[in-house]
């Protein structure tokens, strides 16, 4: 049977070293700050020309800060493909910023023209977004069908086996 990245994770797991936990907790705190600030900046600080509320979901972002910090800074491997819940877009952008994949300028233009998108977008936010999300439920379903597509290719030997976890 096909086994992939997920299959080998458990065996290597030992108690999380205190140092790693400390780093991840500090980054989680920063992710929470950055995502909250990004929305605040867009709504309260950036010039508003049209009187429309810019919006953004601070509370819905805060609830996944721990989960996404754990995933993106420890659990995920380069071959994993992810759909992030639409309202957590600021958390995603904050994480990419800390990883050096997102610019400060675009964070400041969150929900603005040419800035980071309200909901993660493959075509507008670029390389780091595997699946666009936005229409509630579709990104979730998409991962299931992408998994079927991947197995369709693997079983036909049309794709190389993905490499295992980074050393």
């Amino acid at each position: 049977m096909l086994r992939t990245l997920e299959s080998c994770r458990g065996r290597e797991h030992q108690a999380e070293p205190a140092d790693k936990l400390a780093c991840l907790s500090a980054l989680e705190r920063k992710v929470l700050w950055l995502s909250t600030w990004m929305i605040h900046n867009a709504n309260h600080i950036r010039a508003n020309r049209d009187g429309l509320k810019v919006g953004g979901h601070q509370a819905s972002s805060a609830s996944v800060a721990t989960l996404m910090t754990a995933l993106y800074f420890d659990v995920l491997r380069p071959q994993d493909r992810v759909a992030v819940k639409p309202h957590a877009s600021p958390v995603f952008h904050a994480i990419q910023y800390l990883l050096g994949h997102q610019t400060r300028d675009k964070l400041e233009r969150f929900r603005g023209f040419g800035g980071t998108q309200s909901y993660p977008s493959r075509t507008k936010d670029g390389e780091t977004v595997d699946f666009s999300t936005g229409s509630v439920g579709l990104g979730v379903g998409m991962t299931l069908f992408a998994s079927l597509a991947q197995d369709y290719l693997r079983l036909k030997r049309l794709v190389r086996r993905m490499t295992r976890r980074a050393a």
Binding site: M1, E6, R9, G10, H13, E16, L21, A22, C23, E28, R29, K30, T36, I39, H40, H44, G55, H57, Q58, A59, S60, A62, S63, A65, T66, L67, T69, A70, R77, P78, V82, V84, K85, A88, G100, E108, S121, R122, E127, F131, S132, S135, G137, L138, G139, V140, G141, M142, T143, L144, F145, A146, L148, Q150, Y152, L153, K156, L158, R165, A166
Partner: protein, 626 residues
């Protein structure tokens, strides 16, 4: 594949349609992490719901991992009388829990004191914790406990699909945590100032990566460098284009429907050893046979993880369908759920960037049911997935099927949907040209997906060979099937299965107006896009060049088995006196002659329209002269 989902997302029906399909196909390597913050957009999610949700995932063969209590709470539960605290939380309604999260330590103390003060162990816990510590303890759900989260993720050892239900608090760590109005609510300036003090971030240092953290920035920068997702390793693959033959075989026959032609062209490809045939994958939501994918599936088989014989065949039951299943199969059979079709097409259509191998996906469904899955179609196009959509049968031309199955507005969807070129050819030879083009278009860097609206109506085929000029015109969207003469005062423009009515009307008109022309339109969408683009750069559009062959202001009748707005814009291109025909009411059962007459797209209706168009053109000329 990993999805991070909000709990309210599980109210969307497409999730359940997908789950069922996943079970049928024995989906693997899938994690859904549910952010269970128990608050949806407007309110607090029903308490009883999640008892049902985990049971449902288990029923579908998933592992369910519930992350409920963090390490602090677990430690408190282990203290004397601690189990009373657990029971109290377990019984606490979501709405009360959320309200107490918002109120903080004082609120928790009041309720715990009232309900559990008779237990010495609980009194001790309350004494040990000041309000801040009590809030920290009572909000220590596992979804906010880094150690618990890591342990849960790292504990998964196999490829069984896994649903993590992570208890979280909406707005955790923010001043309005737990409040039911917080969904799209923004922190006000005072709340932000307080939050800034908690986070220890100075003015001007808001976007400094490590400002206000307990650990030195250098150590965190070092840590980040070691993260597997760090660095500039590309996440998207390039995949070489799959070469497409220079032409596809045109099915023989004097009378053919475009749906039949589609099935036969694909059947011929299936029978060939052309390399590109190996990259075609078809999928259909339980309408494989009725959309004429049968010839393809008979030769190429159905995809399945395991070899499964065709029982009917083994039992020597005669059937036109040979449906063996195997990993080598090139058709993915789906249940009748259009949302799944479009998500499957989206996934197959992203195979190149996601997995480094290009696929040429083709999905088939009945034209009216595009609307059933239209948000998912839009979603697929929004992420630039590339596929071919074959929608058939279509329009009122599927006659006896009746109004519920008769599509009217789908060509307007084709016109308006970015990332999707749409075509409605009338003849088999046009379809062969277009299908070949589509296989290339979906692979082009700046290409798009392609939608074909086909018909089950057999019609007389033209006897001709298609030269490169004609092939080019078919792709661009239109050509003169009968060229207009000099100073032509009238043209009839048709699209799709109404070609015989247009030809008959043209023959009758030509007796009186020998200069009249007959314009074949293969794609209202492509002509419209070209017209808009040409206007933007001050050039003459394809439609403009075609209509320039007529006398200025000449009459123009457009006709198709779709909403008349699909082609009525043609009147604005060169100022023709236009009479657009089409269907703008619900259909009903009937045969084609009755229905075409009732809805005004038969030969008589075209002739009436032609007379009106000529009259309007004449009046305009007269007004001008007067």
């Amino acid at each position: 594949m990993i999805a991070l989902a909000g709990d309210a997302e599980l109210d969307e029906g497409n999730i359940f349609e997908a789950l069922l399909e996943g079970w049928k196909h024995d989906v693997r390597n899938l994690w859904w992490v549910i952010d269970y913050n128990r608050q949806s957009l407007d309110a607090v999610v029903s308490d009883r719901l999640f008892g049902r949700i985990d049971a449902m995932f288990e029923m579908m063969g998933w592992r369910v991992v519930t992350l409920k209590y963090g390490r602090l709470l677990e430690a408190a539960f282990a203290r004397p009388d601690g189990h009373h605290l657990r029971e109290w939380i377990d019984a606490c309604p979501n709405s009360l829990y959320s309200a107490l999260v918002y109120k903080g330590g004082e609120g928790w103390r009041e309720h715990l004191h009232r309900d559990l003060n008779r237990y010495p162990g609980i009194r001790a816990i309350l004494e040990d914790h000041d309000d801040t510590a009590l809030q920290r303890l009572m909000t220590n759900l596992a979804g906010h406990d880094m150690d618990s989260v890591l342990t849960a993720f790292h504990a998964v050892e196999d490829d069984r699909p896994t649903c993590f239900i992570a208890y979280t608090i909406k707005g955790y760590g923010l001043p309005f945590a737990g409040h039911k109005d917080n969904h799209a609510g923004l922190m006000n300036l005072d709340q932000m100032a307080a939050f800034r003090r908690t986070m220890d971030v100075a003015e001007g240092a808001e976007l400094e990566p490590f400002a206000g953290l307990d650990l030195p920035g250098g150590r965190l920068a070092e840590f980040l460098k070691g993260v597997p997702l760090a660095g500039s390793r590309p996440r998207r693959h390039d995949a070489a284009a799959v070469a497409v033959p220079s032409s596809l075989p045109v099915p023989r026959g004097t009378r053919l429907a475009t749906q039949e032609a589609f099935g036969r062209i694909l059947g011929d490809i299936a029978a060939s050893d052309a390399a590109f045939a190996g990259r075609i994958v078809t999928t259909s939501p339980d309408v494989t046979v009725s959309t004429n994918l049968g010839p393809w599936v008979n030769r190429r088989g159905i995809f399945d993880r395991a070899e499964r014989a065709d029982t009917f065949r083994e039992e020597h039951v005669v059937s036109a369908q040979r449906w063996a299943m195997a990993p080598q199969g090139q058709h993915i059979e789906l249940g009748i759920a259009e949302s799944n079709l479009f998500l499957q097409l989206a996934a197959l259509g992203l195979a190149a960037p996601l997995f480094g191998t290009r696929l040429l996906p083709i999905g088939t469904l009945y034209d009216p049911f595009i609307k059933r899955g239209q948000d998912a179609l839009n979603y697929a196009c929004y992420q630039d997935a590339r596929f071919i959509l074959v929608a058939t049968p279509s329009g009122i031309t599927l006659a006896p099927e009746g109004g519920a199955h008769q599509s009217i507005g789908e060509p307007l969807t084709g016109l308006a949907q970015p990332g999707l070129a749409s075509f409605e050819p009338a003849y088999a030879d046009e379809l062969a040209v277009l299908l070949r083009w589509a296989f290339e278009e979906i692979q082009r860097e700046d290409g798009q997906s392609v939608y074909f609206r086909l018909s089950t109506r057999p019609i007389e085929q033209p006897r001709r060979t298609i030269d490169p000029d004609l092939a080019g015109a078919i792709v661009v969207g239109g050509y003169w099937l009968r060229e207009p003469g000099p100073g032509a005062e009238l043209a009839i423009a048709y699209c799709g299965a109404v070609a015989p009515e247009a030809l008959a009307a043209y023959a009758a008109v030509a007796e009186d107006i020998p200069q009249a022309g007959l314009l074949a339109i293969t794609s209202p969408d492509r002509l419209h896009r070209d017209w808009r683009a040409a206007q933007a750069c001050g050039e003459i559009s394809v439609a403009g060049r075609l209509l320039m062959r007529l006398q200025p202001g000449a009459g123009l009748v457009t006709v198709g088995d779709f909403h008349p707005a699909t082609l009525s814009w043609l009147g604005a291109v060169a100022g023709n006196a236009i009479v657009p025909l089409g269907v703008d009411r619900f259909g009903q059962s009937g045969d084609i002659p009755d229905l075409y007459r009732a809805y005004g797209i038969d030969t008589d209706a075209i002739l009436d329209a032609a007379a009106r168009a000529c009259l309007t053109a004449l009046r305009r000329t007269a007004d001008f002269l007067l």
